[in-house]
Amino acid sequence: MSEVKKFMFVNRKAPYGTIYALEALEVVLITAAFDQDVSLVFLDDGVFQLKKGQQTKGIEIKNFSPTYRALEGYDVEKLYVLKESMDARGLSEDDLLVPVTVLTTAEMGALMDEQDVVLSF
């Protein structure tokens, strides 16, 4: 087997307004099959993707927020959220629908720096 690489997916967009959040999630689910070291990062408006209580019936778009809870079963267990992004949006860890690791800007920058591949959405 070839060498395991560190993959990071950077999520910076709110869900539903654009297609980026859903596309990123689908790419993550597909690449989970390749047994790499995968990290998911949520910063800026990307933290809104993990907000509890999404109800999309009224806008007739599929609610894909429950799928974040399936990531653990896909062995994608490294989820990081930027503290400053949560603070700026009035969110705390309790508002999120999956367990995450909260990082400061400095910690997030260091984590980004050590990746082999970074994919931004």
Binding site: R12, K13, A14, P15, Y16, G17, T18, D44, D45, F48, K51, K52, G53, Q54, Q55, T56, K57, G58, I59, I61, N63, S65, D87, A88, R89, G90, L91
Partner: protein, 98 residues
Amino acid sequence: MLHIVNKSPLENTALESCLNLAGAGDVLLIEDAVYAATVGNSFEPTLRAALGKVKIYALQPDLDARGMGDRLVAGVTAVDYSGFVDLTTSNKNCQSWL
């Protein structure tokens, strides 16, 4: 005039420009712009300041979709789709900020 904004205030300046330029009238927040009308957001002071000169509405289905239905800033009015239609017909003109 009815101003319609659909971009998050934290990654796009559409709402900020809109609120600066809108002297009076109605501002309707839809899609990702509804985050602007939620409490605790860093845009909240700007929005509150604007409430003095314009009337601000937010589309309820978009708030619900984003799990933000219970966080509306006091003074902002939630509307459904028929409320959206009423706003477009009660104003003599309309601008969509892209």
